[in-house]
Symmetry: C3
Subunit: 250 residues, 3 copies
Amino acid sequence: MDFLTLPKRSSKPRETGITHVLDKGMGVEQIRDLFAICGEYVDIVKLGWGTGYVTPNLKEKIAVYHELGIPVCFGGTLLEVALRQNKLDEYIRAVKEFGMEYIEVSDGTIAMAEADKLALLKRLTKEFAKVLSEVGSKDEQIVIAPFKWVDSIKRELDAGAWKVITEGRESGTVGVYQPGGEVKEGLIDEIVSAVSPERLLIEAPIKKQQTWFVKKFGANVNLGNIPPEEVISVETLRLGVRGDTLLTFH
Amino acid sequence: MDFLTLPKRSSKPRETGITHVLDKGMGVEQIRDLFAICGEYVDIVKLGWGTGYVTPNLKEKIAVYHELGIPVCFGGTLLEVALRQNKLDEYIRAVKEFGMEYIEVSDGTIAMAEADKLALLKRLTKEFAKVLSEVGSKDEQIVIAPFKWVDSIKRELDAGAWKVITEGRESGTVGVYQPGGEVKEGLIDEIVSAVSPERLLIEAPIKKQQTWFVKKFGANVNLGNIPPEEVISVETLRLGVRGDTLLTFH
Amino acid sequence: MDFLTLPKRSSKPRETGITHVLDKGMGVEQIRDLFAICGEYVDIVKLGWGTGYVTPNLKEKIAVYHELGIPVCFGGTLLEVALRQNKLDEYIRAVKEFGMEYIEVSDGTIAMAEADKLALLKRLTKEFAKVLSEVGSKDEQIVIAPFKWVDSIKRELDAGAWKVITEGRESGTVGVYQPGGEVKEGLIDEIVSAVSPERLLIEAPIKKQQTWFVKKFGANVNLGNIPPEEVISVETLRLGVRGDTLLTFH
């Protein structure tokens, strides 16, 4: 079918319009089957938090993603555990051995001095094709002032991060969201007054969040932590073929 | 196992007791696998909203459904986009080319004059085996008076709709539901005082909604927008082998 | 990867650290695929409530679980329906014919005199390898006093139950939970002042519940009604490689 006029979408390898998917324990056949349907819309898969560490057939799983041409990386939390145990080098070695070209740095749970985070980002940009840096806390009780978000994002981009991920978690209830999942609109406005949204990868696991960002920044906004079974739905929101964005685009 | 006495269920092809399933992007192996378990309970599958339009292997997917003997149709939103772009004929041609015998007409997002909707229904009844018509808005801020629901449903049945779908969306928070998912009981009472529930296909994606309707109208109420992984659960509610309806039937 | 120091986990066959999974209608290929990833973390699968009764390929499905070395049982609700229809012997015969070694006794929906429940437990311990007994109501309006929970749990263990399941349902909103899903902390404290948590199998379908119990009782708490797709996530919570429990263990 090609009888409709739809918003123009970016194509792979994408710099904008990225869909970043959260895999929290899919089977390999499920990956093959689902991504036969939606793989062209998927730019990166994250093996959420430490799930990769407890996945017995991890090597096979990563091989399937690579076969499908989809880059895969570990969640930042796994790096945080490694840091906490002074095992950073071991962690980086493992990431390389699995053939991953993307790596994520976060401090959503542990405390990390800003200078240390920036130094780590700089180091990793020399060793990996793309470094993702995450800003924001996983604790819904911790509220970070907007100017601090902006400062962190700018410095982490300057340090070489490819994109900065804005925290939302799997739940969409922390970071740039209220505990009920509503977007902190003032915070987003403040961030994008200083940083192009193209440099952000916005975790937006819930439909009302995806809708808000597509309406605000257009079809080619970068969205992260998309559940695998929602990839097709997100694509319809981007193109205005779901009720929520139909009248925005058509 | 057949030692229990259970409510008598209708059998295929069903006029009542219909389970209408929402597919928002399943893979073909998942379809084969899941419907080996629950296919006999599934009467129609809807490829939700415009998901069909962005599914690369759509032809194969539809073929799998047809192989399983399960009719499949597009969501009404896709027709709404086509109407909005003056591409109705192209849309209908595509639906036929995919071998679909069911078609859905809705105005949940776009405005459509009632005369136009009725004329479209009449036209489609000549071209398709079954025409589904949907009543209700996808916008939770739009509240339609009960008498208008009744009028629309009656006219659309008169115009040839096989069943009228009452809006609930994937979320179960609009149309015949409060934003918290509770059934608008007065609205349902008013509708069924004028129209037999057998002519309705009630979108009821959430368990408490399915339970309410099974208790109200019995095992063979027509339920729509059932998530694929809930088909077996819905069947247990219909038969009273889940706690929620056990004491209703046994 | 084995560079991290993690809490020591029990191994199969487990007496503690049990993960009990709720299957409400999975396909057999999905089972094979998912449990290739997480089967070593799964100790028992429950075919929720009466889903087993309406599963056409049940025999094949159970065979797949047995092939994977994972014990499988029916939900207690199916036994409740059988009791209600005076078909207990037929039910037990069916359970045996399917080769199940685990059986669950509950009275979450029907009323059962305590003496009858205890007598049934005693009878079943002679016929099955493991008898699970469930305490708590599925009705969120029924609140049972903590001392009654304790009495029931102790008597049912004395009658031979291997573990006592504390009710939570698929939703995590009844039994030991508030309607919003929060743990009834005082109730749990009262229960474990009289019964070792090792003898409990705590239904905890929601992440915040799993987190609470892992923090309270450690990596090897027994957790039940885990959705299949959350098994890996639960394992990460147990090991402190997810943000929610990272600082508890590392």
